[in-house]
Symmetry: C2
Amino acid sequence: MIVYAWHIRIEKTFLLVALIAGAASCLLPPSAMAFDYFQSLPDQPLVPANNPISHEKADLGKILFFDTRLSKDGKLACNSCHSLTTAASDGMAVSPGADGKFTRRSSPSLLNIGLQTVYYWDGRSKSLEDLFLDHLAAADIMAVDDFVLLERRIQAIPGYRTAFSKAFNSKDAQISVAHMAQAVATFLRTLLTPGSRYDQFIQGDVNALSALEKTGMELFRTVGCLACHFGVNFAGPAPGPALHLGDGFYELFPNHTGTIYDEPLHLLDDLGIFEVSNNPQDKRLWRVPPLRNIALTAPYFHNGSAADLETAIKVMALTQLRKELHADEIAAIRAFLESLTGTLPEISLPSLPVTPGISIQEYLRW
Amino acid sequence: MIVYAWHIRIEKTFLLVALIAGAASCLLPPSAMAFDYFQSLPDQPLVPANNPISHEKADLGKILFFDTRLSKDGKLACNSCHSLTTAASDGMAVSPGADGKFTRRSSPSLLNIGLQTVYYWDGRSKSLEDLFLDHLAAADIMAVDDFVLLERRIQAIPGYRTAFSKAFNSKDAQISVAHMAQAVATFLRTLLTPGSRYDQFIQGDVNALSALEKTGMELFRTVGCLACHFGVNFAGPAPGPALHLGDGFYELFPNHTGTIYDEPLHLLDDLGIFEVSNNPQDKRLWRVPPLRNIALTAPYFHNGSAADLETAIKVMALTQLRKELHADEIAAIRAFLESLTGTLPEISLPSLPVTPGISIQEYLRW
């Protein structure tokens, strides 16, 4: 367990906890330890104390999630790149933003994001609320360069008055970007996907996985994938005592450079956390991405350069673990990863409040 | 009743029926006649004999409706311009298509389209199935220039095999554009919006409309709007004995040219049916558009040039009926039109079948 700790950059107390837990786990038989690393989906997401969950807030958040009027050009919504018809992602390597620019990195799925502790591929955002605000302002995403203007626009839509009042328990509730962030974050926290066959297996139904999937699960552990992709979301330590909101779990990718994949998959073009920190120690350091519902969210990696699961498995084994896998090992691991697909939340489409008496084009001229 | 018949272009037997009905209606008191013109929403849409409705077909149609892989660039779905979050329209004057071109005319709402008999602003499409195929091929809409290629793409998505088999009761059901058309048309026929306060009033609840709305309803009749906007969908004769699928109900717009609106609203730039027929009699002839849920679908007219209901009412009164309305008449008619908003269908988002092992970009290279 201590192996991966070398690559962790933890901002609070995780390293110590990991070392203690690692020492403790030596006392357990390997299978029991492995089982701890394989964890089932919790019933509830992580919720910060300053933004408790409520149905009303989630309902407002859902409406905002689908509303293109939150973007600069009035054509992009959260749901454009994180479409709930395609596992809250978009099947693209990179995505077009509201200002015609393409994002540099791939739009990840938002399913189970309520289990994450930091956000973006490089973990630079420390809360879902901040993530929303950052997406609004990002030039390659929603491209809103004036929050006050955006607030004025949304305030001018009468139907939003009621929804904000309900969500924030006051008829004078501010229609502000801060409240939008709280509502959208709340909606996102509801997007858990329980019931995967993997979870059924972990919860005791030994027949929930096929023989091939069980082989894949065992290979996932023995090959070494599990060293980083463990826990409730296969993205590192379980939040709670070990990891808090705002703490991240990071790894190098590629861990070993110089493989045949560096060039064709452009693995060295983007240096991860280093790109914002300029700290040489952060070169190629990334938040470990979750694997639930991974079969639904091709293409893979921060740049979407791996088109399918086989490629992603093969590349990760070589670049991270210096292992060349056989085709049958890849097939088994793939089968296991496919068993991580849960039940997607049933989402009824919201009806957006009507823009009052003006066309979208005029509305955007304000 | 005969007044409007001068402007009707009916392709089968409607004119005769209208004349007989018009003669018959002279025997009735005016209020009874008016009441016939005001009709409530039927329980069932019109369904052609060769494409009966089934849940399975509607389910498949819903998935296809949301699937961007039906467009040339993989980014446009039916739902892009006819978004079910915004009353199956898009709030735009004109809409961007898959090939970067903008449509020439405004995307109308698809709600209650199962009550229409002809489609497009000029009525040139005679079935919902044809409408779908035409949208696929249209250079300014889905821009699919090769149906065989599209079929190959959709056939390559394993998840569609089951959905097509269920929809067409055969495990070997063809994954063809013809079947796609039948499925999407079936889904669209389910999009009825019952329960408006107008319908409650028509069905006998005299308190369902406010005094202002009742005044508006009476003005709607006496000013003359009802002469064209009558029937179950406020778009002309009720389908059935008078009008069959494929028969249209058309009017001139503007009926009177030379008003102050011709230029600013570009009312003479697009000559309606004439643009395809080149028949001088067809100049400025348009299908009478329905008015249900009209409060949700600004901007108005074939070119989206009227930003709000007040403008639309004012312009129509002058260009069609040579009447200048007072502000309070406009307000009352607007209130009445707002009472036509029904209960929008509850639609749960479908999960689209996954593109097998390739990115959307690669998929589109096939």
